[in-house]
Amino acid sequence: MAKENTENNHFTKNNQDEWLEIIMSDYGDRLKKLAFSYLKDWGLAQDVVQEVFVTCYNQYDKGSEIRYFKAWIYRITINRCKDMLKSSFLKRYYFNNNLLKHFINKDLSPEERLVLKNEKEKLSQTVLSLPVKYREVIIIFYYEEMTITEIAELLAINENTVKTRLNRGRILVKKILGGSELYGRTIE
């Protein structure tokens, strides 16, 4: 994906409040979905996005030092999500939610079962069910359509590590879905 040449203009144009409105419109939905891919809860994703925009607002003065705004705002979103995942509170939250899901799934209606059989739903849920380190590279690569280099920079990991995780992520998806070939997009 090509870099946005004008992305650092976010910090140079308009006053602080207008700028906040612009970045909320541009990134609000994308960041919330990104946060959801980590946290699997829209309420928690909203909390993260709110914190990210508050951080952006407070860092407005340092805007000129930020070269690539998209990479920067994605990075702080991802880091905040990972912080949340580490917290014991979230683990408890997940535990309770998973328990709840377990009971709810037992009583799925036939219509709901049909929906789950839907291929797109299956694929989405499969990707979301992956461990975080595979899930994030798969989603950023396939959904956000970033390059291996961009992902390596964003996640602060080696490019080869990104490739390895992508391959293992694919294998896991394949195993879960029971398919044989999943290579829709090449790495290089």
Partner: protein, 252 residues
């Protein structure tokens, strides 16, 4: 299945990501959070508050527990009182103390004096009455019950002590021959059989302002094992007085 992952974006947008998830309401919340920075996110304070509360609770619990342990190790008797139970060893110690006190009291009565009231009751015929051809001395019995009663299991034991095992004889001898008696020291030992005790009493005797002399009187005491008679004497006898009764009974 080949194109599945390359279609991930479309698949997610059509399913889990379907629709716009960042509403105007979310924007209002963010603006409000920026305007009122003191309002912390619930996820920020809740786990911290919970952790602090649990931590403080643990500290209080541990402190309380430690205090209880220190108290219980320092004052076992208090713990017993709270629990209403006593250990075997503590029961034995208490019994031992009660029995030794009984021996001490009897020996004090025996070797302090002479007890003129006792001697008067013993020797003065005016206290004696005959009932059904049996001589009685109710005043004496009353006095004996008063001074020895608290330490003996029953009155028959006191009668046996006085009639057969030398009780009150030292008082009588001392009175008759003008000796003064004083108890200097008592050593009491518990035998292997827990309700049997031996004693050695160092008794001072003096006559006519002469220098006071001492003699060791040895004896043994048996206590009742019945619950109702706990700490009460069944038998009290002198075993060896090292010649004290001879000295006191002599006129010289």
């Amino acid at each position: 299945m080949e194109e599945q992952l390359s279609n991930l974006k479309r698949a997610m947008d059509d399913t889990v990501y379907k629709g716009n998830h960042f509403s105007e309401e979310d924007k209002v919340k963010i603006r409000s959070a920026i305007k009122h920075p003191h309002k912390k996110n619930r996820l920020e304070w809740f786990p911290k508050l919970l952790t602090v509360a649990v931590f403080i609770g643990c500290i209080i619990f541990i402190t309380d527990l430690t205090k209880k342990n220190i108290n219980s190790s320092d004052k076992p008797s208090q713990l017993e009182q709270r629990n209403g139970t006593k250990t075997e060893e503590q029961r034995n110690n208490e019994d031992n103390w009660v029995r030794k006190t009984a021996i001490k009291k009897v020996l004090e009565q025996e070797f302090t004096g002479p007890d003129e009231k006792l001697v008067d009751l013993l020797s003065n015929p005016k206290y004696r009455t005959v009932v059904n051809n049996m001589e009685e001395n109710q005043e004496l019995d009353k006095y004996l019950a008063e001074v020895y009663g608290p330490y003996f299991a029953d009155f028959s034991r006191i009668e046996a002590f006085i009639g057969a095992f030398g009780g009150t004889k030292y008082q009588s001898f001392a009175y008759m021959n003008g000796y003064k008696l004083s108890l200097k020291n008592i050593t009491i030992e518990q035998e292997n059989i827990l309700y049997r005790y031996t004693f050695i009493a160092k008794v001072g005797y003096q006559k006519n302002g002469d220098e006071e002399k001492t003699a060791s009187v040895e004896g043994e005491v048996v206590f009742s094992t019945k619950e109702k008679e706990e700490g009460k004497i069944l038998g009290f006898q002198y075993v060896n007085d090292n010649g004290l009764s001879n000295i006191l009974s002599s006129n010289n």
